[in-house]
Symmetry: C2
Subunit: 216 residues, 2 copies
DNA sequence: GGATAGCGGATAGCGCCACTATCCGTATGG
DNA sequence: CCATACGGATAGTGGCGCTATCCGCTATCC
């Protein structure tokens, strides 16, 4: 197919597709003439993935480029690719420090307590430390009481995720599945958590329903 | 204190503080002269909250303004404020539709199945539907198999959150606590989920550790 | 009381980012 | 054969979170 049909099928404007190609998110079409290119279903699939990572996952274009580069690299060992990909999924805080070393200790303790096979310099650990440090600064140092409950829930979800990937291991590209699961699963879990909050708030404070849409 | 000290204490540059005041995130200082203003600890606290919502929560400035406006409004019924605040915490997708009505059915079923007291037009439900629709478009319609596991985990966390808020109910502003818990708790949970992923991947694929930092 | 630093307030500009518009010369296809 | 779409390149746009500059005033130190 040509770029117009690719655009029609995915809803992504033609100039935007060209932009993604320029940025290395999408491989260029195969040239049949010096200025004619053909695209296929792999492009369509990749394009949908890009949009999902952008719109639902909230990743930046540059981060998506790096993740997809790792996905496409056929030479890397699996767990390395998974790590490299996952590392790009969090927020992009500059590696500052200040007094978050305290939070890092808390994180290390948690990792050890749960027996997680994770090195403490993992970006996710840094993200966690940042969040805990922010909570502490806001007078919520006691939030750490909830950490084990949170960790339990996270383990539950992670187990389900990995089982899911296992079940589909023959279906498509493994790494791509993991990326999708990690990013979109996060969106799903966040939304569910907010729904559950509304439910429990409704039971505690509210009347019949917890709905309270905008009316500024 | 004056603006310079406020800046020094929080690490936020003076022009940025002025900008926040202009945008309505931070109340102006109390004028002691036509062009001298005083700030106090409430400003400092508010400023830290703003930075946390921005840096850790990833909220946009405009969204923070709306949330804080709801927090400060003394006239609203509690559950309304909570709802209005929570509604601003998700992504800002334009209310398009397409074929996500299917996903909305799935969401409605889930809400009913779990007995959640949530109206289905809650923004969080829309977010969830968006994520599910994106998964479906990527060939992951079967992800819905995991929904109940995810929901279970979400309930667990939500229960812990509400208990936590209950325990602190006398400490500070209730609504502010809920906002903090919702936003920063999400960051904590996401990071923990990624850590748990790394752990399980390490057990399944890897060697001793699941670390795989950047080396592009 | 005079110098110097900081202040409040306003306006304009910057840097990044995700596109989007335009142009040109070349195929495609009815 | 010729309108239409295409590939490729370059420049521009709009939004956002600040940041720089300027003005006249005030607090503070000696």
């Amino acid at each position: 197919m040509r770029i117009g049909e690719l655009s029609r099928r995915t809803g992504v404007p033609v100039p935007t597709i060209k932009y993604y190609v320029r940025e290395g998110l999408l491989p260029p079409g195969e040239l049949s003439s010096p200025n004619q290119a053909r695209y296929d279903e792999t492009h369509e699939r990749r394009l949908r993935l890009i949009r999902a990572l952008l719109d639902v996952g909230g990743l930046k274009v540059a981060a998506i480029a790096e993740v997809l580069q790792a996905v496409d690299d056929p030479a890397r060992p699996v767990h390395k690719v998974l790590g490299a990909a996952a590392d790009r999924l969090g927020p992009q805080h500059d590696t500052d420090d200040e007094e978050l070393s305290e939070a890092l200790v808390t994180v290390r303790e948690l990792i050890e307590r749960r027996g997680w096979r994770v090195h403490a310099d993992n970006p996710a650990a840094a993200d966690l430390a940042h969040a805990l440090a922010a909570l502490d600064r806001l007078g919520h140092g006691t939030f750490t009481e909830l950490l084990d409950t949170y960790a339990e829930a996270a383990e539950q979800v992670a187990r389900a995720d990995l089982d899911y990937v296992d079940r589909r291991v023959a279906v498509e590209d493994l790494v791509e599945n993991v990326v999708i699961g990690t990013v979109l699963g996060e969106a799903v879990l966040s939304a569910l958590r907010r729904l559950a909050h509304v439910d429990r708030s409704a039971r505690r404070f509210g009347k019949r329903e917890g709905n309270a849409s905008a009316d500024a």
